[in-house]
């Protein structure tokens, strides 16, 4: 592994999203503030408790996770696609950087942005509700694994994308519905048995619940099972990304 190259790609990626911080770091803070005010405060007061805690406290982990997913995905998808579009991906392709180094560099950039956004949203949340965190270690592992998974997803999306529209299709038509149906705003125990079973096919359920367990100690899913699912998906996505880039799909003629 060429560590100098890895560090270079990672710094380049971080410099990119920090340079355009108004587009990358501010929007999640504003969006989540609105979610906290509208869903947490105004509607939440009428809902009462969920999972043994106030509704506001219940949705905080899900909303942080939603920001992590969106930002990790879009950071890598747009950065890698731009590099393809402007052809500066060739700078890496002509140099002796291994496929794994390129993947780790881009994914590292996406994870860094997701973690910064997670901290920002957590700080915003703390203005609305006191946070009594139960398991710091579980929170850290879950957020890193989730950010890595969606950064890999963004990379795979960018490999296949031919236009800028192609990097917004998956977030709009797949990620957003799965996130909203992934137990961010409700406990799946509220659903009829059939839909509870269907929900378990949604990978985001596992991430949100493991993360929520770390915050409030309550989860619809066994957190260890959730971590196992996350690791499995990470391994599968990493294998797909490595195979695609190694074969030069979308980047070599």
């Amino acid at each position: 592994m060429n560590l100098t190259a890895l560090r270079t790609i990672w710094i380049k990626e971080c410099t990119r999203f920090l340079r355009i911080w108004v587009q990358t770091l501010v929007p999640p803070a504003i969006t989540m503030t609105l979610y906290f005010i509208i869903f947490g405060n105004l509607i939440g007061q009428r809902i009462g408790e969920m999972g043994g805690v106030s509704y506001m406290e219940f949705i905080v982990p899900g909303l942080i996770m939603m920001s992590v997913i969106t930002n990790a995905y879009s950071n890598v998808a747009s950065s890698f696609f731009s590099a393809k579009f402007q052809r500066n991906i060739e700078e890496m392709l002509v140099s002796p950087v291994s496929t794994m180094t390129i993947i780790l560099g881009y994914v590292g950039g996406g994870v860094a942005r997701a973690l910064i956004v997670a901290v920002v949203v957590t700080v915003v949340a703390s203005f609305f509700v006191p946070l009594n965190i139960q398991h710091y270690g579980l929170i850290a592992i879950t957020v890193i694994l989730t950010a890595t998974l969606f950064a890999l997803g963004g990379l795979i999306n960018a490999v296949f994308a031919k236009t800028f529209d192609d990097i917004s299709i998956i977030p709009t038509f797949v990620l957003t519905p799965l996130t909203y149906l992934g137990g961010v705003f409700y406990s799946i125990t509220l659903l009829p048995q059939f839909w509870q079973t269907v929900s378990q096919a949604n990978p985001i359920i596992y991430m949100v619940n493991a993360f929520r367990y770390g915050f409030i100690g309550v989860s619809d899913i066994n957190p260890w099972l959730a971590l196992g699912v996350l690791m499995l998906f990470n391994a599968a996505f990493l294998a797909v990304a490595w195979t695609l880039l190694n074969r030069g799909v979308g980047i070599r003629s």
Binding site: N2, K12, E90, E91, V94, V97
Partner: protein
């Protein structure tokens, strides 16, 4: 001595079925300044793409300084610096970021990369622009930036794909001087260009490629010696009698300008002698067109005629 580049039987068929290379063979010696010429679509950029691993080959063998592209890819890449035809850097990054990052991809530590960046950007007149974003540079500066970027890991083989396209004459000549200098310092250079004058001025050896095959691979000197007839334009002093030239094809272009085709074996003296006998004074003289250009067109045409019966 190990060759800088050795290509054997290189073939490339693109997904749509287009056969860009049909068994290309090419050798470039260490320290050479080599021109790869050919009409549009001949396969020059595909060849360069394969050498620099931007294009996957279909068949054939490529070696760079003895390293095999298939089995020693990282070593091959370390020895090559590529200056592509189109600007392919991030337009939003600064000049310094672009070159230092490129060095980083080759494993050059950041401190050393910054030292080299100062050296090469200064040599190419870009050090003052180091903190400017690439998109704000002029076309000529962008071309020089790509040369600096390709040199930062100090490659032994520099490949330039039409490096002076769209560059003004003054800058083109300063780039020629720079390329000549680094070639004298030991870097092997392969250049594609549409400016045949550029190849004639800079390069010692030349390969002409057409329809995916090398149709000529020789020294520039040997190639130019194939040129049998040159056309000269003579500007004459006013004269009374009509001009007559025995044994030469000539065309009068206006009252005082004459075009004469001069076969090499006859030379110019016979032209001047005949004009002098008629009392006609020659004020000045120049070549009508680039000699290499004529030869290039002839060779491509001959190559195509030879291939046609087999098709």
């Amino acid at each position: 001595m190990t060759q800088a580049l050795a290509i054997h039987g290189l073939k490339k068929t693109y997904k749509g079925g287009l056969q860009a290379l049909k068994g290309l063979d090419l050798q470039v010696q260490q320290g050479d300044f080599y021109a790869l010429l050919g009409p549009n679509g001949a396969g020059k950029s595909t060849t360069i793409g394969i050498i620099s691993s931007l294009v996957n080959k279909t068949e054939g063998k490529v070696e760079v300084f003895g390293y095999d592209l298939d089995t020693q890819l990282a070593d091959v890449k370390r020895h090559i610096g590529l200056v592509p035809q189109e600007f392919n850097f991030n337009q939003f990054e600064t000049v310094l970021q672009i070159v230092v990052n490129q060095a980083g991809y080759y494993g050059v530590p950041r401190a050393l990369a910054k030292e080299r960046a100062e050296k090469y950007l200064t040599q190419l007149g870009l050090w003052d622009k180091r903190n400017d974003r690439a998109r704000t540079l002029s076309g000529g500066m962008k071309r020089r930036l790509m040369i600096a970027r390709a040199l930062l890991h100090e490659p032994k083989l520099l490949i330039l794909d039409e490096p002076t396209a769209g560059v003004d004459i003054e800058l083109r000549r300063s780039m020629w001087d720079y390329l000549t200098l680094i070639n004298q310092q030991g870097i092997t250079i392969i250049l594609t260009t549409h400016y045949l004058e550029e190849a004639e001025t800079l390069c010692r050896n030349i390969g002409i490629i057409d329809k995916g095959q090398i149709i000529e691979n020789t020294s520039m000197k040997a190639l130019l010696s194939k040129l049998n007839i040159e056309t000269f334009v003579l500007d004459l002093a006013p004269h009374e009698h009509p001009i007559q030239l025995q044994g030469f094809t000539m065309r009068e272009r206006g009252e005082l300008t004459l075009e004469v085709d001069v076969p090499k074996e006859r030379g110019l003296n016979a032209v001047f002698a005949q004009l002098s006998e008629q009392g006609i004074k020659v004020l000045s003289m120049r070549n009508k067109s680039n000699r290499l250009e004529e030869l290039f067109v002839d060779l491509v045409e001959q190559g195509r005629q030879q291939k046609e019966p087999a098709q």
